[in-house]
C-alpha cells in the first residue's frame, strides 16, 4: 500500500494544527451524544426529503446520501491557492469554448489536433456563430479536485476532471453546512468557518448578469427534467432558494422569437434558463427529436440572443476526458499564465505509444472512458481482479480512442464515522465555480467520501457519502 495523506492526522499520530480544536472537541464530547446527533442528522435529512434516488412509487422512502459529521477542514492559505487556480482554470476553459465556437484559433495554431475537437461527440456544430453573452459558456462549473500524497509525506492538489455540463451536488454542500450548524453549534464557536450559505444568491446574481442584452429585470427559471430525475431535489431546492420558478419543458413555449412560460396569469417572458437537462434534450427540433423534456424552437430564440442558457450548449467538448490533457496548454495559450493547479498525468490511448504503455501497465492505472461520467465505465487497476483488468484491456484495444489512463493517485483520506468507529476514508472535493461578469465561488465545495474501506470511488451513485467542507478564515 502506498502512503496515504491523512487530512487530520500527521504521520506519527500528531493532529495537524487546523484539526486540533476539532480533536479537542471530539475528545470532550461523550460518544453517546455524537451517536444521538448522527441519528438526528439521518432523520432530519429524511424529513426534508434530501435524498438521492427519487425513482418510482416509493419516493417517500428514498435513499439518503450518507452524511458524515467529521468536517473536511481546509486552511485559509491552501484555499486561497485553490481559489486562484480554479478561477484561472475556469477562465481558460471558457476562453477555449468561446474560441472553439468562433474563430478556432487554438486549433489553427496547432495546439490541439482539430479532430480532437470537431470529431468529438460533445462538440455541437449548432453553437457555431451564436453570440453568447459575455462570452461565458460554463456559468456553473464543478471542478473535481483530489489531493494525493507525494513521496516526501506532503501532498499536492490535482484537478481530476472538469464538469461543465450540468454539475450537481451543490445542494448537499448547503445542506451539509446547515446540518452541521444545527447539530454542533458549539464547534462553530471554536472555528471561524467561511460561510457558504450565500451560494444561491451568487448563483442568481450570476444568472442575472448574463441575461440577454437590454433586459433590465430578467426572469430567471430553473429547467428540470421532472420529479423523477435523480437530482430533482436539488433542482427544486435551488429554485426555491433563489425564489424563481422551477419549470419543465412543457411549461415553456416559443412564440414571436421569444420564450414564454405558461402561468395562471397568462404567458410570461423568460430571459434566463438555468437548465438541468442535457444538450440532447433541449429542443426536439434541433437535437433529439424524441425528447419530450425540452422546448420546441428554443434553439431559435437562443440563436437570436433573446434567451440565455446556463450552461451554454456544447460545453461538454471542454470537459471531455480526451480534451482534459490540453487544459494546461489552454491556460498558457489564452491567459499567458502558468497553470496554478496541477493536472493528473494522462495517457491518451489514441496515441500508439501511450496505448501500449497503458495495455502493459493496466493493473497500476485508472482507465476511464473519455465520455463517461459518474464513475461508470472506468477501471481502477489496483482495486480490480485480474479478470476485470483483462476484460477492460479487450475493451480498450477495441476502441483506444475512447479511453485515457492515469496513474492511480493515493487520494488523501479524512477520518470518517464507520461501523467500527472512526477510520480514514478517501475523499475528493468539488468546488462550484460561477462565471458571470467575474468568477466567484463559495469557499470550499462539496467533499465526497468513499465509505468503503480502501475504495477510491466517491460518486454518490456508487455508494459515496458527503462531508461538510470548512474553509477557515484567517
Amino acid at each position: 500500500m502506498k502512503n496515504i495523506f491523512d487530512e487530520m492526522n500527521a504521520p506519527g499520530g500528531a493532529v495537524r494544527p487546523h484539526y486540533s480544536r476539532f480533536q479537542e472537541w471530539l475528545a470532550q464530547t461523550p460518544p453517546a451524544h455524537i451517536a444521538a446527533k448522527r441519528a438526528e442528522a439521518d432523520s432530519a435529512f429524511h424529513r426534508y426529503g434530501i435524498t438521492f434516488a427519487v425513482y418510482g412509487e416509493d419516493a417517500g422512502r428514498e435513499r439518503l446520501i450518507p452524511f458524515d459529521i467529521v468536517p473536511r477542514i481546509i486552511p485559509a492559505d491552501e484555499w486561497k491557492k485553490l481559489e486562484a487556480g480554479l478561477a484561472q482554470r475556469v477562465n481558460a476553459l471558457n476562453a477555449f469554448l468561446h474560441d472553439i465556437y468562433s474563430s478556432q484559433r487554438i486549433v489553427k495554431d496547432g495546439l490541439i489536433p482539430a479532430e480532437q475537437v470537431f470529431c468529438n461527440a460533445q462538440y455541437r456544430p449548432e453553437m457555431q456563430g451564436i453570440d453568447v453573452r459575455n462570452s461565458i459558456y460554463a456559468h456553473i462549473a464543478g471542478v473535481d479536485i483530489v489531493r494525493a500524497a507525494l513521496p516526501d509525506g506532503q501532498a499536492e492538489y490535482y484537478v481530476l476532471e472538469d464538469n461543465l455540463r450540468v454539475p450537481s451536488g451543490v445542494s448537499y454542500m448547503l445542506e451539509d453546512r446547515r446540518m452541521m450548524m444545527r447539530l454542533f453549534p458549539e464547534l462553530f464557536s471554536r472555528y471561524s468557518v467561511a460561510p457558504v450559505e450565500h451560494y444561491p444568491d451568487l448563483l442568481l446574481d450570476t444568472l442575472r448578469q448574463v441575461a440577454p442584452a437590454g433586459v433590465d429585470d430578467p426572469a430567471v427559471v430553473v429547467l428540470t427534467p421532472g420529479a423523477y430525475n435523480s437530482a430533482y431535489f436539488e433542482h427544486a431546492f435551488l429554485a426555491q432558494q433563489m425564489g424563481v420558478e422551477l419549470v419543465e419543458g412543457k411549461d415553456l413555449f416559443v412564440h414571436d422569437e421569444t420564450l414564454f412560460m405558461r402561468t395562471t396569469q397568462g404567458p410570461r417572458r423568460v430571459d434566463v434558463i438555468y437548465r438541468r437537462i442535457d444538450d440532447d434534450f433541449l429542443d426536439p427540433l434541433t437535437f433529439r427529436r424524441d425528447s419530450a423534456l425540452g422546448v420546441a424552437g428554443l434553439m431559435s430564440v437562443y440563436r437570436s440572443g433573446r434567451v440565455t442558457l446556463a450552461n451554454a450548449i456544447g460545453t461538454g467538448v471542454a470537459d471531455d476526458k480526451s480534451i482534459y490533457p490540453y487544459v494546461p496548454d489552454m491556460i498558457r495559450f489564452y491567459l499567458s499564465e502558468e497553470p496554478l493547479l496541477l493536472n493528473v498525468p494522462t495517457y491518451q490511448c489514441r496515441k500508439k505509444d501511450e496505448l501500449s504503455y497503458v495495455l502493459a501497465n493496466m493493473e497500476k492505472l485508472v482507465v476511464k472512458e473519455t465520455h463517461g461520467a459518474g464513475g461508470y465505465g472506468m477501471l481502477v487497476g489496483p482495486a480490480s481482479t485480474q479478470k476485470e483488468v483483462d476484460d477492460f484491456r479487450v475493451r480498450v484495444k477495441a476502441a483506444p480512442d475512447k479511453y485515457i489512463a492515469q496513474p492511480t493517485l493515493a487520494l488523501s483520506a479524512c477520518p470518517t464515522f464507520v461501523e467500527a468507529g472512526i477510520a480514514p476514508r478517501h475523499i475528493d472535493l468539488r468546488p462550484f465555480v460561477l462565471s458571470g461578469k467575474e468568477v466567484r465561488m463559495a469557499p470550499g465545495g462539496l467533499t465526497r467520501v468513499a465509505l468503503k474501506e480502501g475504495s477510491l470511488v466517491v460518486n454518490s451513485s456508487q455508494g459515496g457519502g458527503t462531508k461538510d467542507t470548512w474553509v477557515l478564515e484567517k
Binding site: A114, A121, Y123, G129, D256, R289, S300, R303
Partner: protein, 276 residues
C-alpha cells in the same frame, strides 16, 4: 441555368391545433455559383428569420391561435452554375471536419463499412479521393433502388441499405455514412431537382463530400447526386446543408393538439425562359 420553382407545403389537422412552430428551410443558398433572382415565402403566424450554424437561412414561424391548416408556399427564380462536378470552397462556420462524425442516422453498420472499404481504399487526404467517391456513388446507386414510400422518413442509413431501396434522402444517407466510416467529411444537401424525364421527385436530396486536396490543398466541396448516379450539376438548386436530413429538412415542426395530421407537398421546377 435559370430555374423557376414553386414549393407548396400544406398540413391539415382533423381537429384544430392550439399551437404550432415550424422551422422552414426553403431559401436557396447563395454560394457555389448559385444566385437567387427572386424569392419569397408565404406563411401564416408570427415569423422571424435567422441563419443557422450551417449557413442556412431559416424562417421560423409560430401560431398560438387554434388552426386547422398550415400552408407554406415558397417560390421564385434561381440561377444555378452551368458546370457539372464543380468544387467550391467551404462556406460556413462549422469546419468541414465536423462533417466526418457519424450522426445517429448515418452510423455505419458492417454492411456500410464493407461498402465504404470497397470504394475508398485510403484516407480522406488521398489525391484519388474524387474517383473513389464516384465509385462509391455508383455502388450505392446500383445497390439501392429508388422507390418512394418504402422507408420511414426517419429510417437510418443502415436500415435503408439493408432493404436495398429508399428515396433520395436514404441514398444520400448511405453515401454519407460510408464517407464518414472512412473519415471523409460529407454533408447532406436538400434542394430541388429539374427532372425533364420526371422520374424523380422535384424535392430532392444529395450529398457533398470534402475533397481535401482540391483547390491547391485548401479543399472544397463536391456534390454527388447519388439517386441519379451523377455529379451535381445545373439541374440542382441547393436549399440547405447539414449533417443529415434532420439538420437540413425543408420543414420541421411541432404542434399541440390537432389529432390526425395530413401533409401534402407540391413542388414544381421548370426551366425559365430567359427574356420573357
Amino acid at each position: 441555368m435559370r430555374l423557376e420553382i414553386r414549393h407548396e407545403t400544406i398540413y391539415r389537422y382533423s381537429s384544430p391545433a392550439s399551437y404550432s412552430i415550424q422551422y422552414v428551410r426553403q431559401t436557396p443558398r447563395t454560394e457555389g455559383g448559385q444566385r437567387t433572382l427572386s424569392w419569397y415565402i408565404d406563411t401564416p403566424g408570427r415569423r422571424w428569420r435567422q441563419t443557422d450554424a450551417y449557413g442556412n437561412s431559416v424562417l421560423v414561424l409560430s401560431l398560438t391561435e387554434p388552426h386547422s391548416e398550415i400552408r407554406v408556399v415558397a417560390q421564385g427564380e434561381v440561377e444555378t452554375p452551368d458546370e457539372r462536378g464543380m468544387v467550391f470552397p467551404h462556406d460556413s462556420a462549422v469546419p468541414p471536419l465536423a462533417f466526418a462524425l457519424p450522426t445517429p442516422l448515418t452510423q455505419a453498420d458492417d454492411a456500410i463499412h464493407k461498402l465504404a472499404a470497397e470504394a475508398i481504399s485510403g484516407s480522406g487526404a488521398d489525391a484519388g479521393l474524387q474517383v473513389s467517391l464516384e465509385v462509391l456513388m455508383n455502388l450505392v446507386s446500383k445497390r439501392m433502388a429508388y422507390i418512394l414510400g418504402t422507408t420511414d422518413v426517419h429510417a437510418t442509413a443502415a436500415e435503408a441499405l439493408a432493404q436495398e431501396s429508399g428515396v433520395c434522402q436514404d441514398l444520400a444517407h448511405v453515401f454519407l455514412a460510408a464517407c464518414r466510416a472512412r473519415g471523409v467529411p460529407a454533408r447532406y444537401i436538400s434542394g430541388y431537382l429539374l427532372d425533364d424525364a420526371s422520374h424523380v421527385a422535384s424535392s430532392h436530396a444529395w450529398a457533398e463530400a470534402w475533397i481535401a486536396t482540391a483547390n491547391r490543398g485548401a479543399g472544397g466541396w463536391m456534390g454527388f447526386d447519388v439517386t441519379q448516379n451523377r455529379l451535381a450539376g445545373p439541374e440542382l438548386c441547393r436549399l440547405a446543408v447539414g449533417r443529415d436530413y434532420l439538420d437540413a429538412s425543408p420543414i420541421r415542426g411541432m404542434r399541440l393538439g390537432g389529432a390526425e395530421e395530413e401533409m401534402k407537398v407540391n413542388v414544381t421546377v421548370e426551366r425559365s425562359h430567359i427574356g420573357l
